[in-house]
């Protein structure tokens, strides 16, 4: 039985692929975005995320696969009939129109009545805190304001989904963070579905219900920000999302709970969750800096599973301290709250470190490692 429309994904990308000449940009990418959900395509530059978005918007035609909005195939529908709002990295406002006219523009193109247009524009300008700028022209706006107008223009006609291509890439850091929070609140309030593309992992974490990590045109992992951060599926995701320590080693054995015993390159033996590795394989053990406990004592004093390390650098980062250690011939980063006691922790100090085995994950090395 076919699904009722409200249960169908708002936007479904079904195995879409695209090639620039001979070079594959996106390979069989599948992704479904529910109503009211914000999904971020996160990947390094050149990973194919903007190409995927361009296909969803209709600027590029996939060489294979299928795209649906509310279950309706839209591959043959031109971009302006797909009922999507798009926000680009630059605001792309029409320079000869005022802010209010720019926001009203999609409604005019859709032949909405004057009264309806004015009401919708007024509401949207209030929501995006632009009411005071309604009569200004684009060249009289700051970058952040212009981008807010672009956002208002993408939302004003209540599209089925809004596509955002690195929308805050051109803004400075502080403004970017403000706009991220504002956009997230707006998205929740309006309940609009969004597909957002960025290479900025912090932005992805703030904005998204789910993040899809993409590399070399294929999906590596999709999940909530917490899932991706705590349980990355492979070495690329572990490296790309948040800071991670990466210790090369070789798997000695794996027990029935999938815990691997790994001998690290520097000689130490540790336990780690096996992620697709088998006995004898080379592996990369990933441990988050904040998961590592550290004390200015000897490893024996700290207890079982503790290792000795030498503190090399102490960096102050406002909310936390970033400690760099030499551990078994490798560099290890540890993060501690700035308020934690620092007695005995100075560069050159011998310290003990430990972590829970389930916080360490042994991955297959990435290609070329």
């Amino acid at each position: 039985m076919p699904l009722a429309p409200q249960h169908l994904p708002r936007l479904a990308l079904n195995g879409i692929s695209y090639r620039y000449g001979e070079i594959p940009a996106v390979s069989a990418l599948s992704l479904a975005i529910a109503r009211g959900e914000c999904v971020t395509l996160l990947g390094p530059s050149g990973s194919g995320k903007s190409t995927a978005l361009a296909m969803a918007a209709g600027f590029l035609r996939p060489v294979s696969g299928d795209i649906r909005i509310d279950g309706r195939p839209i591959m043959r529908t031109p971009p302006h009939r797909r009922d999507i709002g798009v926000v680009f990295q630059d605001a792309q406002l029409l320079p000869h129109l005022t802010v209010a006219e720019n926001v009203a523009f999609p409604l005019r193109m859709r032949n909405r009545g004057r009264a309806e247009r004015e009401k919708a524009v007024r509401e949207m300008l209030t929501l995006t805190r632009l009411a005071a700028y309604a009569a200004r022209y684009p060249h009289e706006l700051s970058g952040g304001q212009a981008q807010r107008v672009a956002l208002a223009r993408a939302l004003v006609f209540a599209p089925r989904i809004v596509l955002l291509d690195e929308p805050f890439g051109a803004l400075d850091r502080q403004l970017r963070e403000e706009m991220q929070i504002e956009l997230r609140a707006l998205q929740r309030r309006l309940g609009v579905a969004m597909l957002h593309v960025t290479h900025d992992q912090d932005e992805a974490m703030v904005l998204s219900d789910r993040i899809a990590v993409i590399e070399d045109g294929s999906l590596r992992q999709i999940g909530t920000p917490a899932e991706l951060y705590d349980t990355p599926a492979d070495a690329f995701v572990a490296r790309f999302l948040g800071e991670n320590n990466r210790l090369p080693g070789r798997v000695e054995s794996i027990d029935e709970d999938d815990m691997a015993t790994v001998s690290l390159a520097g000689g130490a033996r540790i336990e780690a969750q096996a992620m697709g590795v088998g006995p004898g394989h080379r592996c990369i053990v990933a441990v988050r800096p904040e998961r590592i406990a550290l004390a200015a004592v000897s490893a024996e004093e700290m207890g079982d599973g503790a290792f000795a390390a030498v503190l090399r650098e102490v960096g102050f980062r406002g909310t936390h301290l970033r400690l760099v250690l030499d551990f078994a011939g490798q560099t290890l980063v540890v993060r501690r709250p700035a308020a934690a006691p620092m007695a005995g922790l100075h560069p050159g100090a011998e310290v003990a470190i430990a972590w829970q085995p389930h916080h360490a994950r042994a991955f297959r090395p990435e290609a070329g490692e």
Binding site: I23, P79, G85, V86, M109
Partner: protein, 361 residues
């Protein structure tokens, strides 16, 4: 130490340093042995290899190509396997082989035909946009038309004047020397006037237009494409052909005949300077031109120049709209616009020559 090879039936043993300096020494032997082993089991023993770089890995990949499959590798470390995978990946992107030349000729033909059909389709799209313009009149901005006409026409006039005078001077000077031997100095006026008005005027104006404006159109639209401005227009339901292409196309159709007249005029002045300097009275030159150049010469040339203008604008705008990704894409589009514009103007000129000849114009 260098690279060594030991060949036994079903086994190739490589040892030593398989790097860029030494791998060459064993290359031919290894490939011959691999070719001989084709269709039979083959073991490539790498246990004794002490040093690798991509040259060694490429040797293995070549062995695989000649052998027609993957042999069993003995003593290959994981690094070697990982490098081999990368070489395989690279070869998928850049296929090599004996069919390369055939493929490239075929590719040239296909790309030429694709470009030609794309161009015609694009021209069709522009004509369609022009015909249906009344339904989208609001999208067509007259300011853009006048701006393009100013850029392509008015601002080109100093250059057209300069080149016109120089071409007239050169043609007159070059023809004067041989013509004088026959006492036909005065007929230089006919020669230069007819060749300028019928052929060189429209063609040189087309070359100037392609160089100045065809490339500018490609660069302007290409930059808009790269900055996603064209995509933004499309999402808003605005037709980029009506908004960006039509004003430029109409502007060149308007300015090209004017530029041609300016160039012809400047050329005649240049010619007159040489002939007057040679002692021929200006009135004689004027009479000579009036007697030999018929209005049909000029009308035909003006019609031709309008077609050249439309073609150059189409090629330029098409190159801009087809701009790819990356920082060099706009430059590539601009080059394509100039080359394509000049080539198509000359090809069209040839076609016009045949048509005019048949029609007796």
């Amino acid at each position: 130490m260098s690279a060594t090879i030991d060949i036994a039936p079903g086994r190739i043993t490589l040892a030593g340093e398989l790097d860029a300096r030494h791998a060459g020494a064993v290359w031919t032997d290894a490939l011959t042995a691999a070719a001989a082993a084709k269709g039979k089991p083959l073991i490539v023993d790498l246990t004794g290899v002490t040093q690798w770089d991509t040259a060694g890995i490429t040797l293995l990949a070549d062995i695989e190509t000649v052998f027609g499959g993957t042999p069993a590798y003995a003593g290959a470390t994981e690094q070697v396997r990982a490098l081999l995978d990368r070489v395989h990946d690279a070869r998928k992107i850049l296929p090599r082989g004996g069919a390369e030349h055939v493929a490239s000729w075929w590719a040239v033909l296909v790309s030429f035909l694709t470009a030609a059909t794309d161009g015609i389709a694009f021209l069709g799209e522009a004509v369609l946009a022009l015909v249906t313009l009344p339904t989208r009149a609001k999208m067509f901005r007259r300011q853009d038309l006048w701006r393009a006409a100013d850029q392509a026409g008015v601002r080109a006039i100093p250059l057209v004047l300069l080149l016109g005078v120089l071409i007239g001077l050169i043609l007159a000077f070059q023809s004067l020397v041989p013509m004088r031997r026959f006492g036909a100095d005065l007929y230089v006026a006919n020669l230069v006037a007819i060749s300028l008005i019928r052929e060189l005027g429209p063609l040189l104006a087309a070359v100037i237009l392609a160089g100045r404006s065809g490339s500018a159109f490609a660069a302007e639209i290409g930059t808009m494409k790269v900055n996603q401005e064209v995509d933004a227009l499309i999402t808003m339901g605005l037709d980029p052909v009506t908004m960006l292409v039509l004003p430029r196309l109409l502007a060149t159709i308007i300015v090209m005949p004017a530029l041609t007249i300016v160039l012809d005029f400047a050329g005649l002045i240049g010619m007159a300077l040489v002939l007057v300097g040679d002692g021929i009275p200006a009135v004689a030159i004027a009479n000579q031109i009036a007697a030999w150049v018929v209005p049909g010469d000029l009308y035909g040339a003006l019609a031709k120049s309008a077609v050249f203008g439309a073609t150059i604008a189409t090629v330029g705008c098409r190159a801009g709209m087809a701009t790819g990704l990356g920082p060099e894409a706009v430059g590539v589009s601009a080059t394509r616009a100039v080359v394509g514009g000049i080539v198509s103007a000359i090809v069209l000129d040839g076609i016009f020559a045949i048509v005019f000849y048949r029609l007796g114009i």
